[in-house]
Symmetry: C2
Subunit: 306 residues, 2 copies
């Protein structure tokens, strides 16, 4: 069963303390779709301008990614430029050009309207609503978000929380959204706003998953020594998580046990993604490599019983 993914498709200029690269493929839907395509077919919803390089289209086509929902319109593709500080954690946005994204109205092809799993990757909550309006009773809906939307579109985001099964956000955003200092309190507070499940990403500290009736899972981070480009790590995480769920839970209810595995697969994909700029590493990852790192996550979090 395919996963439906809507989000941004961008051309990024990225500077780190070690290197700078221009005109890279980026955007939440690009990272999410390529990540998910390791697990299941993807129905992609997004928009690009006529300047969008053919090679990127070819990359997406070469995976099991359906582009019927990709609008290619006159104008320029959404552009983002950012710089990472010395610790590779702090990021400064240098410029944003919405371009064709400014008037984007996602319209789902008929073939997209009964997806089993939906990933509303990081875009404006209003657009996430708009996509949800067009799909018929999906089995599981995951929403990703970011600090920007908590700042400028909080009402729409809060309304969205009543329509999704799971919210993904990072630790700072969880604290920002709830006002809670404790991430445990923040996770529970977000659940009270709607989603049965909440995943709080903590970067180098892994990820917390909150489930029904106090269910809780703490996923470690992969012990990477060097990060080359953190861009898209969260999108890649969300894509891997959603893709694995679509493959693993086909025709079945999504269980907490499956979500724990999905969080690990998301973390595996993200750990590969940050090893190179843009999608350079992500697009070469194969099934044996994914299995290898999944096993390593198991090894580093295992301890003997009492």
């Amino acid at each position: 069963m395919p996963v439906l993914i809507v989000g941004s498709i961008a051309l990024d200029d990225i500077k780190t303390p070690l290197a700078e690269h221009l005109n890279l493929l980026g955007g939440s839907a690009s990272y999410g779709a390529v990540s998910a395509s390791n697990f299941c077919p993807v129905l992609l919803v997004g928009i690009v301008g006529e300047d969008f390089p053919k090679e990127h289209i070819e990359l997406l086509k070469s995976r099991q990614i359906d582009l019927d929902g990709l609008q290619i319109v006159p104008g320029k593709t959404f552009r983002w430029s950012g710089e990472y500080m010395w610790d590779m954690n702090t990021r400064e946005t240098r410029s944003v050009e919405l371009n064709v994204f400014e008037h984007f109205t996602p319209v789902l092809p008929e073939s997209y309207r009964s997806p089993s799993i939906v990933l509303l990757a990081n875009i404006a909550p209003d657009l996430q609503h708009h996509v949800l309006d067009q799909v018929a009773s999906p089995r599981f809906v995951i929403a990703d978000t970011m600090d920007l939307w908590i700042n400028i579109a909080k009402d729409s985001l809060i309304r969205l929380l009543g329509r999704v099964n799971m919210l993904i956000l990072n630790d700072g955003e969880a604290r920002q959204l709830t006002g809670a200092t404790s991430l445990i309190k923040a996770g529970r507070a977000i659940q009270a706003l709607g989603p049965q499940y909440v995943a709080i990403k903590k970067g180098e500290h892994g990820c917390l998953l909150f489930g029904k009736k106090g269910q809780f899972f703490s996923c470690p981070a992969y012990p990477l020594e060097d990060i080359h480009d953190p861009t898209g790590a969260g999108d890649t995480f969300a894509g891997g998580l959603a893709g694995f769920l679509a493959r693993d839970t086909e025709g079945r209810d999504v269980t907490f046990a499956a979500l724990c595995q999905a969080v690990v697969y998301g973390s595996v994909m993200a750990s590969y993604n940050v090893e190179a700029f843009s999608l350079e590493r992500l697009k070469t990852v194969d099934a044996p490599q994914i299995a290898e790192r999944f096993a390593l996550f198991q090894k580093i979090s295992r301890f003997d019983q009492a």
Copy 2:
């Protein structure tokens, strides 16, 4: 087999955003010894003044803690006063009175000189050296430290690293000691200075354990919603870790598998300790409660195989 513990014994005044308490039992050796005493007999080395309350002596005596190495001398007991900020993570030291601690020279009774496991709890590195000078070939030596010693006694601390099997410190201290941003790099860099094993405590994010030849373990944090007093959490962690090792590895080499369990037991003890001021919660924890929370650590970090 007993564990030998040397460290500070203090009277603390502690203020949190919610409460303030004066004249509390504190100090790295107090927390460490009571924590360890849940697992094995303890040989305590420390110093207090004649003002040290009898009830605290009685508490220590009531556990399996040998006080032959406790000096009670004319003068006042070491005093520390601190305040926690709203997030319970940032701490400000309001005052320190070394008192009898200023001229402390640990002298080990004859019965203390062949311990199997030694915990050099957080005190000045010179004192940690002095204790090590008096013990005959212990099987495993663990040292705890803090930012203060990295600032004012770095040379002595670095020399100590060549004499211990394991160093325990927190994330900020690991970065401070090594200059590395990545905690993975920091852990490896500390190993290169001497200790085969390094435990980096990350507060609400759990703990990382580095072993030989790339061995690595990521221990989650217990999902506590409310922390009443973080004082002594690190000391309690170290005490539980050392106490478990002494009990579990009696007569055997310390393995990485045992250290992983020890890190979990240390985390269990610390998670209880922060539930109340001073040692109020720690001194009531019993074996079934320890076992219960150990099982919970296992539950929250477990996920199914691929």
